[in-house]
């Protein structure tokens, strides 16, 4: 524990700015992944344990598109769309077969997909790590605010993640598509009885959730080395975010992501050896005092 260092940090604007933005960067990437997990759970009532693999495939897809096109924006968009399509196929051919099954059966299917996708990555891209490098558009000196340092790419990352999150919320809360999806989440058979092909909406939701993971992978690709299995560690953190925010709540995922991001950011200064411990502690406290999560509803299905 080095609480003196933490106090010194919060006493200087440069440190506060740097650590706040650092927390937002960590949080926003987590948010993109966790929002996919929570969306799929909220509507389909399944926990997609293979979500980390979709993030990994998004990163590799972005790397490949970048090699082919040289444009980062095209690569990021391409990766999100490609993973979205893959998600739809995953849902139609695998996950839809285990809806309503025991959670262990769902876990087994997802775990199989994780193992298969890890091995396919090794076969296609090789076992050695890959690095995309910073796209030319963002090879700029860091910006300074009140003495704090903020890289331009991270500003883009935060803005992009927030924009995607806002768009997602608008689609779910303000459109006809969103109304049907929310209705299907509450009572799928009733929506089906109204002549709406609920299965198509389920597939679409899974596709959107997957595309979010793909977008997160594409945003991470310039700054993280790409390796088979890279989705596992971030999946654990995204589950922590989902549990804290409340299963099925996008707003909850947003708030919880920022909480975890700031914990990691300021924790690295004040309690560097206990950051993970604090993250799990927050989760435990939420589970004890509000088991449904900060923004989750006790019985949303």
């Amino acid at each position: 524990m080095d609480l003196d260092a933490l106090m010194r940090c919060v006493g200087t604007t440069s440190c506060i700015v740097t650590q706040l933005t650092s927390g937002m960067i960590i949080g926003m990437l987590l948010f993109l992944i966790a929002s996919g997990v929570t969306l799929i759970f909220g509507v389909l009532n399944v926990i997609n344990f293979a979500h980390g693999s979709l993030y990994m495939i998004g990163a590799y897809a972005a790397w490949t598109f970048y090699q082919l096109t040289g444009s980062y924006f095209v690569s990021a968009l391409g990766a999100a769309v490609a993973v979205g399509v893959l998600g739809v196929l995953f849902e139609r051919f695998l996950m839809s077969k285990v809806y309503g099954s025991n959670v262990l059966m769902q876990l087994l299917v997802c775990y199989a997909v994780v193992l298969i996708s890890d091995d396919l990555i090794k076969i296609i891209w090789g076992p050695v790590s890959l690095s995309m490098g910073m796209p030319v558009e963002f090879r700029l000196p860091p910006l300074r605010f009140f003495g704090g340092v903020v890289p331009p790419f991270y500003i883009f990352m935060i803005v992009a993640a927030m924009a995607i999150g806002l768009l997602l919320w608008l689609v779910i809360a303000r459109t006809r598509f969103g109304n049907i999806v929310r209705a299907a989440a509450v009572n799928g058979p009733m929506v089906s009885a109204l002549g709406i092909r609920v299965n198509l909406y389920y597939a679409a939701v899974f596709g959107i959730g997957s595309a979010l993971a793909g977008a997160a992978g594409a945003l991470a690709a310039p700054v993280r080395s790409l390796t088979p299995g890279m989705g596992f560690s971030i999946l654990i953190e995204s589950f922590i975010v989902t549990v804290i925010g409340g299963m099925g709540s996008i707003v909850g995922a947003f708030v919880a992501s920022i909480i975890i991001g700031l914990t990691r950011s300021f924790g690295s200064i004040g309690f560097p050896l206990f950051v993970d411990g604090v993250m799990f502690l927050i989760m435990a406290l939420v589970l004890i005092f509000k088991p449904s999560g900060l923004f989750g509803r006790p019985h949303n299905k």
Partner: protein
């Protein structure tokens, strides 16, 4: 009656057989005995997947260069050498399991442990139980061979050792620090045995040679950590004059990529012992300027014809560039071959260990063209150590300064006494 007797006998035989099978499974003897004829099987637990897969890939490359040549020339007394390589995925418990499997199930008579330090200590304990010859070809953590409590008579190390690099590197860093006035230092190294001990030793000797140096910030990211943002900003906030890092492989590449965004390398001098390796310099897209790196493997160090030929042959046969781990494994393979020649192909762990203890072999990776397996602590000495300025293009390192071994021996003795190792 007779039928009953015979049935009883059969049951006894079955029980005896089962007992024998169980015993054999536990001690693994049949595999070792069986291995005395036919191919000599050498097991290699290493990391072949994930962010540091380059470690396994280039370690195996270093071994193949030597063993393929021996096999082409007819093997050892007509017996071919067969490598059995297994992926531990960088997990210590998996490294131990894989090593047991290699010996007990695959019938390997010798282990070349090409694990990182995270797995090497687990492998060492397996070797302590089973007693085959083991050469740790990648683990640099000093205590593995320096600490008498960890000593295993049939285990050796051909990897460079952290304390040697620390003394040589500390001397070099202190000279730069004095010249440039670098007093406040931050460190950023992986949080496991190698990262902790390597960093502590480097800073100890940097301070030994320059009393003005003080460490103002320490960061310990996890091994294979995907995101270094909070670590980078922590180092940045320390406003240090210089930083030392023992990050390596893909972890180092990711750290540099992320630190570049914050302009970290523009704000302070940086010393990265593991930067100057082909597997790393090739991966870094925006190579930081003015970073000092330890000597790993470089085709121009030493600038000899033999080294260039070795490099060309390696690239031609293995289809990728060699790394520090390649030469360490090349030396391991050469020592195993020499030892097998002396024992006439006998793979008994004790016999091989007796021969390897104190062995000197000729190699371009040694100062003056040779390296020695020091008998006193089963570790390699006299290999090339040094530091230089990293470059983004060939030859990737400039002004390389080789550290002399005499002061290293002297300070190492004192260090061992201080640690209670001698």
């Amino acid at each position: 009656m007779s039928s009953i007797d015979s049935r009883r006998t059969g049951r006894r035989q079955l029980l005896k057989g089962a007992g024998a099978l169980a015993t054999a499974g536990i001690i693994g003897t049949p595999a070792i005995v069986k291995g005395q004829s036919g191919a000599i099987k050498i097991g290699v637990p290493t990391i072949l997947s994930g962010r540091v897969a380059v470690l396994g890939q280039t370690s195996v490359g270093g071994l193949k260069v030597v063993f393929d040549k021996v096999n082409e020339a007819g093997g050892i007394n007509g017996r071919k050498i067969e490598l059995v390589v297994r992926d531990s995925k960088g997990a210590p418990q998996e490294a131990a399991k894989v090593t047991r499997d290699l010996i007990n199930n695959d019938g390997c008579q010798i282990i070349i442990d090409a694990e990182a330090s995270s797995g090497a200590f687990a492998v060492q304990e397996v070797i302590r139980e089973i007693g085959v010859l083991c050469i740790h070809s990648n683990s640099e953590t000093s205590s593995l061979t320096a600490d008498p409590k960890l000593h295993v008579p049939t285990a050796f190390r051909t990897a460079r050792q952290g304390i040697h690099d620390a003394i040589g590197g500390g001397d070099y860093a202190a000279k730069v620090a004095k010249a440039k006035g670098l007093k406040k230092w931050a460190t950023c190294s992986p949080d496991y045995a190698y990262g902790r001990s390597n960093t502590a030793e480097f800073m100890e000797y940097a301070k030994h040679f320059d009393g003005n140096i003080q460490v103002v910030e320490e960061s310990w990211p996890k091994l294979f950590q995907p995101d270094y943002t909070e670590v980078v900003t922590k180092v940045l906030n320390a406003k240090a004059d210089a930083m030392y890092s023992a990050l390596w492989g893909g972890d180092l590449v990711a750290f540099i990529d992320q630190a570049n965004l914050y302009g970290l390398f523009d704000k302070q001098a940086s010393f990265m012992v593991n930067l100057g390796d082909y597997g790393v310099v090739d991966q870094v897209k925006q190579f930081p300027q003015g970073v000092y790196s330890g000597g790993r493997y470089n085709r121009t160090v030493p600038p000899t014809k033999e080294n260039e030929e070795w490099y060309q042959n390696y690239v031609k046969t293995q289809k990728h560039k060699p790394t520090n781990w390649s030469w360490e494994n090349d030396v391991a393979a050469q020592m195993v071959v020499e030892a097998l020649k002396k024992t006439n192909g006998d793979t008994n762990g004790k016999k091989l260990a007796e021969v390897i203890k104190g062995m000197t072999i000729k190699t371009q990776f040694g100062v003056g063209g040779s390296v020695t397996m020091r008998a006193e602590d089963n570790t390699l000495v006299n290999y090339i150590i040094g530091y230089g300025l990293s470059l983004s293009k060939e030859p990737f390192i400039a002004d390389f300064q080789t550290s002399p071994w005499e002061p290293i021996y002297e300070l190492e003795k004192q260090w061992k006494k201080k640690q209670g190792y001698a």
